[in-house]
Symmetry: C2
Subunit: 414 residues, 2 copies
């Protein structure tokens, strides 16, 4: 029997959730002054020997040096201890050969300081693009970091990886399975797909599950497609997006094997945790005042549905209408039309929450503009589109486009 | 011998250009009160018998009823007189069966009033989506319109088709070829790919050239791909985009035949005129303060180059940086990376005008941030990207993303 005991509530208001200790993982965060002053900006996360790691990375063709290094290492065999080191303030992206050297300098120094195989040391950098990373500021702190490692340091880590985020992001899940308890805890940063001049989405998830690397990779990749790959703030994809997940195997539950109830429960819990983190990123979107779920159904297939959902979620005209609390369903018709997916004007219907707005190629006879306007005043909105063609469906999440976004992103970097 | 005598200067500052009379075309514009009060909002354009027409239309799958009607008629044979009727204020889009009936009512009434075959009567509507078109307000004015037709009414027509445009748009060209003079005159409306609550880009071009319909269609389609299909204000594609071109054959020049110097000169002049109109639309983009040319070269092929150019031109982060006069080349790297086109970070170079910003995977040793910042203060900007892979190239034009765009588009419609 397998049972999900708890997945942390979506985007908890008011403070960072209490995340469980994951046996076999320790954290330390320090002030290294990479760019920011007066705050912790470098985090070290260390996993005990026997851990396995999986990862999901940006598909950008201009990926940053740390991302390329992680991708080269993530599938390698090995069961010694592992480490992840993250700095905020500088993305070490588009920094040429200098960037590659900086990654090597940092990861080798971590390997030396902790006695870990360098092939098991992963790094992420988030911040300004195109400036050389002052890696000696990071390596100078390795002694301090190694001495400060603690099992309950995940909340500090969530804060230390922030750039323009307005709140730290964390989520947890617990599963009763295979005669024991499996715990998962995750943290993320991101405020817009790309924060100003900055870097963007980083996610670190830890579990004490016993699980083979290929199964862990399969489950985390599948969950990422349904969560982090379904959110958009501004359609701009980062050069640094990185998700790393480590499983230490220190749970008292038996191994999670493919095609078992335990694997199903583990996936469901992991998906819930990742969706929670993804929603927190959207809620912290630059300048966002609304949280919007776009549900598309009735498409020729799921890919078409996703294309329509993203066309709506990325449309500047839809997003500005939402910011203005305008039930401007004509712009949703426009976005469906431009998506490139198969659509038939005369079978299309549109909902705002439970309110039917348009159907059969025109506004619904029951729709009133005042009901639509009242609905749009809510903070959390659902836009539903049924294409009326077949069974394809997709859901994505986004926020509105406001003066706040312009303020944040039109500011000169200095 | 064929020679281009004149193509109107790009986006002339200060007033509508003097457009030549095109023999065989007459215009009339009246106040019909479709939505706006106190301004002309319906235009009738009539071409003499013997004219041929060609058209280019939005690819949106939620095209408005008038667009569908134009597409059904544009390729039909016929050489009687032809008419185009345009209203501003209501797009007659997503109006179901009612919308189809409105198009039929208007086009049949024009046919009856002028004694023209209804299959030669085209209509466009621009304005709010989803509201029934009060077509009787248009048909009530047909007598007045028919009585007011005049050969020099094109400037009034350019004003009557405006919605949120801040200035009327026109351009002209003249070619000496085949023993005579060929004249072309065009008008356009558009302020953003979609003006608030819709509307968008309408273009009407007239020439006195003798030219067969298939050749006219081929040349106008090719020129549209290189002009109107290379501009973007906000990536949102309208349900109403329509370009109609009519050739009356009343020039004293001999027929323009395919693969002749006259056809080449005609194409060059037409392309120049359409580029001028397209640039005027970008300069009038909602909230725009900058005019930006994005030049991409060195791509694997032209399609890849276009994909990269549009990724840059549509990126909210690039567009807000331009609004903030920030030489934020890291965001251009990001946009190249997300475009999906083949790119190699280490062969990529970036220019602002003549200033080399980045090359070989990193910032150029000669680049100074102060030179970049000074360049970005100009009103007209060129962003150059060379992918360093092969010979594919493309150029697109866009504007910045400002508070003005949010103001215009977040306003409630009422």
């Amino acid at each position: 029997m397998a049972k999900i005991v708890n997945v942390s509530p979506l985007a908890p208001a008011g403070g960072f959730p209490a995340l469980p200790v994951i046996g076999g993982v320790r954290f330390a965060s320090v002030e290294a002054g990479v760019r920011y002053a007066g705050r912790r900006d470098v985090t070290l996360m260390v996993l005990d020997a026997g851990s396995v790691l999986a990862g999901v990375f940006t598909r950008s063709s201009t990926r940053a040096a740390p991302v390329l290094d992680c991708q080269a290492k993530i599938g390698l065999p090995g069961d010694g201890p592992a480490a992840i080191i993250v700095n905020a303030g500088n993305a070490n992206a588009f920094t040429g050969h200098n960037g590659v050297q900086a990654v090597q300098a940092v990861t080798s120094a971590v390997a030396d300081a902790l006695g870990i195989d360098a092939a098991r040391v992963f790094s992420s950098s988030t911040g300004v693009i195109g400036e050389p990373l002052k890696h000696e500021r990071i390596t100078a702190k390795l002694g301090e970091l190694a001495g400060a490692l603690t099992a309950d340091g995940i909340a500090d880590a969530a804060r230390a990886i922030m750039t323009t985020d307005t709140f730290p992001k964390g989520a947890a899940a617990e599963i009763a399975a295979n005669g024991g308890t499996i715990r998962i805890a995750g943290i993320a940063k991101g405020s817009g797909m790309i924060a100003p001049d900055m870097a963007t989405m980083l996610v670190y998830i830890f579990t004490d599950a016993k699980i083979a690397r290929p199964l862990l990779q399969e489950l985390v990749s599948r969950a990422a497609d349904a969560t982090f790959n379904c959110i958009t703030v501004d359609s701009d994809t980062s050069t640094s997006d990185t998700l790393l997940m480590g499983a230490t195997g220190q749970s008292d539950a038996g191994e999670v094997l493919a095609d078992t109830p335990a694997a199903a429960a583990f996936y469901t819990a992991l998906h819930g945790l990742m969706l929670d983190l993804a929603h927190q990123v959207v809620r912290d979107g630059e300048g966002a005042t609304k949280f919007v779920e776009v549900q598309v159904s009735g498409a020729r297939n799921d890919a078409d549905a996703r294309q329509v959902a993203l066309a709506i979620a990325n449309s500047p005209l839809v997003k500005t209408a939402i910011a203005g609390q305008d039930p401007n369903w004509g712009r949703i018709v426009m976005a469906v039309g431009k998506s490139g997916a198969e659509a038939d004007r005369d079978t299309l219907s549109i909902r705002f929450g439970d309110i039917t707005v348009a159907e059969n190629g025109w506004v619904s006879p029951d729709y009133s503009e005042s009901a639509g306007a009242a609905y749009m005043k809510q903070q959390d909105l659902v836009i539903g589109v049924d294409l009326g063609l077949a069974g394809g469906a997709a859901t994505v999440w986004t926020c509105d486009l406001t003066h706040g976004y312009i303020d944040i992103n039109a500011d000169y970097r200095s």
